[in-house]
Symmetry: C2
Subunit: 354 residues, 2 copies
């Protein structure tokens, strides 16, 4: 065995075949690999959690919406959180917890940098005083930071606004709605089941929730917000979004955060022509990508962790177990099977309070 190889076997999820429409489990393969020894400046991370996020679906297309596409045979791009078990980098100690876009692997090497190549930011040190490790992939990770800046900065949140959020029970939507409630806003969540409607109203304290599978989205919004809406945080795109646009109020702000309803479509989908609605209301529709706010991530984390401590905000998780079940968890998340953040918990050698 060569010097640079450790006597540990890792597993990774690779792209076996390119999905059209909703991925199937056998589009993915689990592949063993020999774990390498970190070089000078590098660290070896034992993965505790894989994160399943909607942006990953885009990367599976031959032409990705943004970021690099994943080639066949390549590791699935994805965020992980784990523990440093070997450190050749003075910035990191063994036992530190970190998270980063290191790919879906049970062990990962990082140079510890914070640089971002093609929207793949370097690793972030986890502060367990703020929240447990898993929360750093959710409310204190990119979903929470997305929720915070999309609503407050791009959406220009003002006290008393009426806010609509789609995929409202998901990792981003559930935080968006709670921040809006903290800011004395009326919040209407759009979600895909009665169970999630109940969750939004009774657990997250949303003002209203709509089950889109029952139709009449526009009419229901009109009933809940007869004067129209000020902000729409759009995580889904597609026909659900089209109905929300009908309720825009003068100078409304639409923030395009995700297009998950369309990313699973086999063919390019046509949409309603929203131009006259946007003109009439002088609305602003703005594209949002969280990496533009990367340098301000700690600002969002401070605020969110203080709300957690004050019990003003909660974060829920849907857990799957074992890397072999990561594709299943990912597909379930794309199908709206999750409440809160979808994570995959990996068995780790030494149990920690994580």
């Amino acid at each position: 065995m060569k010097d640079n190889i450790l006597p540990i076997k890792g597993h990774q999820v690779i792209l076996g075949s390119r999905p059209h429409g909703l991925p199937k489990e056998n589009d993915f393969e689990i592949k063993e690999f020999q774990v390498e020894r970190p070089k000078k400046g590098e660290i070896l991370i034992e993965t505790h959690y894989l994160s399943a996020d909607p942006f990953q679906r885009m990367r599976l297309n031959s032409s990705s919406g943004y970021g690099k596409t994943i080639n066949l045979g390549e590791t699935i791009k994805g965020r992980i959180a784990g523990k440093v078990i070997i450190s050749e980098n003075p910035e990191f100690n063994i036992g530190d917890f970190v998270e980063g876009m290191l790919g879906w692997k049970t062990y990962a090497i990082s140079d510890g940098s914070n640089s971002r190549a093609e929207y793949a930011p370097g690793i972030t040190k986890i502060d367990l005083n703020k929240a447990p490790i898993s929360a750093w992939l959710g409310i204190l990770g990119f979903p929470g930071i997305t929720a915070y800046f999309s609503l407050i900065e791009t959406g220009k949140l003002k006290k008393g606004n009426t806010v609509v959020v789609s995929a409202a029970a998901g990792a981003v939507g559930s935080i968006v709605g709670q921040i809006a409630k903290i800011s004395d806003c009326k919040v209407i969540g759009i979600t895909g089941s009665e169970r999630k409607v109940d969750y939004l109203i009774n657990k997250l304290n949303f003002t209203y929730a709509i089950n889109y599978t029952e139709g009449n989205i526009s009419k229901k919004i009109k009933k809940f917000a007869p004067d129209g809406i000020d902000i729409f945080i759009d995580n889904t795109g597609g026909p659900i979004a089209d109905e929300v646009y009908e309720n825009l109020r003068l100078n409304a702000r639409v923030v395009l955060v995700g297009n998950i309803s369309q990313n699973n479509q086999k063919n390019e989908i046509q949409r309603r022509d929203l131009q006259n609605m946007i003109m009439r209301t002088r609305a602003t529709v703005a594209g949002f990508i969280v990496y533009d706010f990367e340098k301000r991530a700690d600002e969002a984390r401070e605020k969110l962790s203080s709300w957690i401590k004050e019990k003003k905000i909660r974060y829920d998780q849907t857990l799957e177990f074992g890397i072999e079940n990561a594709p299943k968890a990912f597909i379930s998340m794309l199908n709206g099977g999750n409440i809160g953040k979808q994570l995959i918990r990996l068995p780790v050698s030494i149990k920690e309070n994580t």
Copy 2:
């Protein structure tokens, strides 16, 4: 004859039948009316020009995009410019020239106010030192004010930007492109004929012009602006616009000024889903209606008239003659038959230097 009736017959254009798709001449009727004597506070205007503008098409639909729909038998909503021939309002003298949204009539009464009911601003006094009367329906009227604020304010024009404008040879587009050129920008105009391509390049000094009837709009923009575009002033919407979106650069601004390609369609048209393109580029798409800038109209007029005096900007007109030909002129304008501002010149009793 009653006291309040003058011994003058006027003519007006009324809506005879509601058009589906492109209007036909016989959707309109010319109807005689007896001209009334202005009451205290009012003025009587002899119309010199009728203005044909794209927004009027929307008003012909049973459900208008914005503003009130025109009912069957009602006068066509439209701007006119003319001379005060009777004044019962101390603010106006006989012989003053004014313009306003008074409807397509050969004589019109106004209370002289500047109030705006349902986006129908009151009348504006014309200053012939700035430009001739007809220019107050074009470059110094709402088309010019639209061009100015859509580009400079909503479009956030910066020196050196690359600007695309559709319906580029029209009343708004031709001014947009020239303002951008004055501001040291690269300007790409999209228009519908070789004659208009020639006009844009050789008369208006656009950097590039594209004849959309030849297809490959996106490819041509990519050739002219390999690094993408910063601003898109969209007067047409529809498939032309969809191709422009493919060339948006990071943080591009799209200003939705008109949707003329869609207003003549018989059925609601589906469009490409632009969401991923907007997200990827973090573009901002903003609806624009000129009435939001009404209070700042003089600011635009000052700037535009000084550019006229310095011969930095030109304004062209396409003239039709006689109110009976107004429907024909309107349809021609909707079909892209005009270069610059489409106007209808009316014969007037006493010839003036207008």
